[in-house]
């Protein structure tokens, strides 16, 4: 499979969603990498002389109740949140895709047991399970990773399994097994490349759900703990000062919207690029 065929390049040039999405992603990544050294304030430095300053040139996003620069905090929180989200998306993707691949390929009782289990977990609302698990284990990044891994893998398992069931009937799979290739080789070399696209497209949508989930945990006080800057925590902090300092809550939320929008565009763009419709 040639990934960068001329056809793909041509389709990329017409794909406005993907172009804008990747551009925004570059902005987010560069801001996370270099932003902290460009903003002349320390995100955790208190300045009691300048609390609740409205946005000005000096403090473009204003200052919070403790005089901390909101811009510096939004940028620093971006590093934290983006790292947590990356792990919370990649772990379930790897776990779920592997389970879906094995389940769909071998079928039989393995498949029935796994899918029954998926059906049961499916009944629990995402937020309820994640909040219960993190709440019971205690707030820490490791527990957040654990909670998302335990809950979100079912989506990837369902998607990949469905694709594997289709691919297993196709001739190239039959040919590979007639040639006597091992199960592992057929799964990894022949089936996986042909079934993973929908899971990758869904992964982009999952980034949007995950950023909302991670920041919700922070907002409820169950996620990343202060004084580490985190978008959800910042929005919760600003809640008490909504009349005198609306900017404290506004800007971290806009950052979340930017991340969500970016990955929605990338997801739609990848869908058009990788799954040609007729």
């Amino acid at each position: 499979m040639k990934l960068l065929s001329q056809e793909t390049v041509r389709r990329f040039k017409q794909n406005r969603n993907l172009q804008v999405g990747l551009f925004l992603l570059a902005v987010i990544v560069l801001t996370s990498l270099f932003g902290p050294s460009l903003v002349p304030y320390d995100p955790e430095e208190l300045d009691f002389g300048n609390p609740l300053l409205a946005p000005t040139l000096q403090h473009p996003f204003g200052t919070d109740d403790l005089g901390r620069d909101v811009l510096a905090r939004v940028v620093a929180a971006g590093q934290v949140d983006m790292q947590v989200v990356a792990v919370c998306v990649l772990l379930p993707f790897l776990i779920g895709s592997t389970i879906g691949l094995v389940s769909g390929y071998f079928g039989g009782w393995i498949d029935r047991v796994i899918m029954r289990f998926v059906d049961i977990l499916w009944a629990f609302p995402f937020y309820v399970l994640v909040i219960s698990i993190v709440g019971a284990l205690g707030p820490s990044t490791t527990n957040i990773y654990l909670a998302f891994s335990l809950v979100v893998w079912i989506s990837f398992a369902r998607i990949v399994r469905g694709e594997v069931l289709l691919a297993r009937r196709l001739e190239y799979t039959l040919a590979a097994s007639v040639l006597g290739y091992s199960h592992a080789r057929i799964m990894l070399r022949h089936i996986l490349p042909n079934v993973i696209t929908p899971a990758i497209v869904f992964m982009m949508a999952d980034v949007v759900l995950t950023i909302l989930g991670v920041t919700s945990l922070g907002f409820l006080g169950l996620g990343i703990q202060p004084p580490t800057p985190e978008w959800g925590v910042m929005i919760a902090d600003g809640r008490n000062f909504i009349q005198d300092g609306w900017w404290i809550s506004l800007f971290p939320g806009l950052a979340i919207v930017l991340v969500g929008l970016t990955f929605t565009l990338i997801g739609d763009g990848l869908d058009d690029l990788l799954r040609p419709k007729a």
Partner: protein, 313 residues
Amino acid sequence: MNLLFFCISRLLQLVPVLLGITIVAFLLLRVMPGDPATLMLGSRGTPEDIAALTSQLGLDRPLWQQYLSFLGDIARGSFGRSIAYKAEIGPLLIARLWPTLALVGLSTVIAVLMTIPLAMYTAVRRNGAVDHAVKFFFVTAMAMPPFWLGVLLVLPLAIAVPIFPVSGYGQDWLDKLHHLALPAFIIALGTAALTIRSLRSSIIAVLGADYVDTARAKGLPERSVLRRHVFRNSLTSTISVLAVHTSWVIGGTVVIETVFGIPGLGSLLVASISARDYPMVQGLTVTFAVLVVVINLLADIAYSIVDPRVSLS
């Protein structure tokens, strides 16, 4: 008769899923590292307190016995005793159920009211200015954290111009509706983003069908073609999108109820987790999952009514 048979057979199919739900909820808090009684009492627990709580919760018994007594509690509708409220959990859950159901129901109604006109208009005038504006608005709305909207919208809509109450839950039903309107609207934005997209594309697909041409060729007015022939046939896939999304909405109430101080199941979950009230958390996870299962069942039935081709078996 047919419908009744369908409902009964679907209910029977649900039994293994429901049992599985109780097992997961039961194990959820027992596979955690650490001793539940110690965790619940925190640093203020003496060894005697911990021993007393351990035997009160039955944690000193074998796992299968604990599970059976959990099932027994559920069968009696009590879910055991809450540690924070020092009372039977069942009645507490029932009292908290109605605000949550009202919130989910109202937000669904608002979402449907937004979806139908916007999806029809943007499907008929596709690629127009309104179509692009609607698409952009709802893609952005989906990326907005509901708790953030809750915090911010209070400023213009409840403080500056006091149209809506800041938080809480009213007395009579009209007052309650008033209190639920803003949170329900915020939840509905996310739902509508999905359903508008789905309904718009199925309307576009149906508009290309032969029977639509036939209806037009008969000389039916465009309004009636859209309403009688296009709209109804576009509904099915949107109903399943709505049903799948309801699970997300029910989970979303956890956060939005906390923001607006609505005394529902969601805010109870957050409070119980903070209070380390494990029996309550266990009862709540079962209740949430059962709600999702029931709503999916209702959607299946609605589906079969809208589309008679779906066989009732």
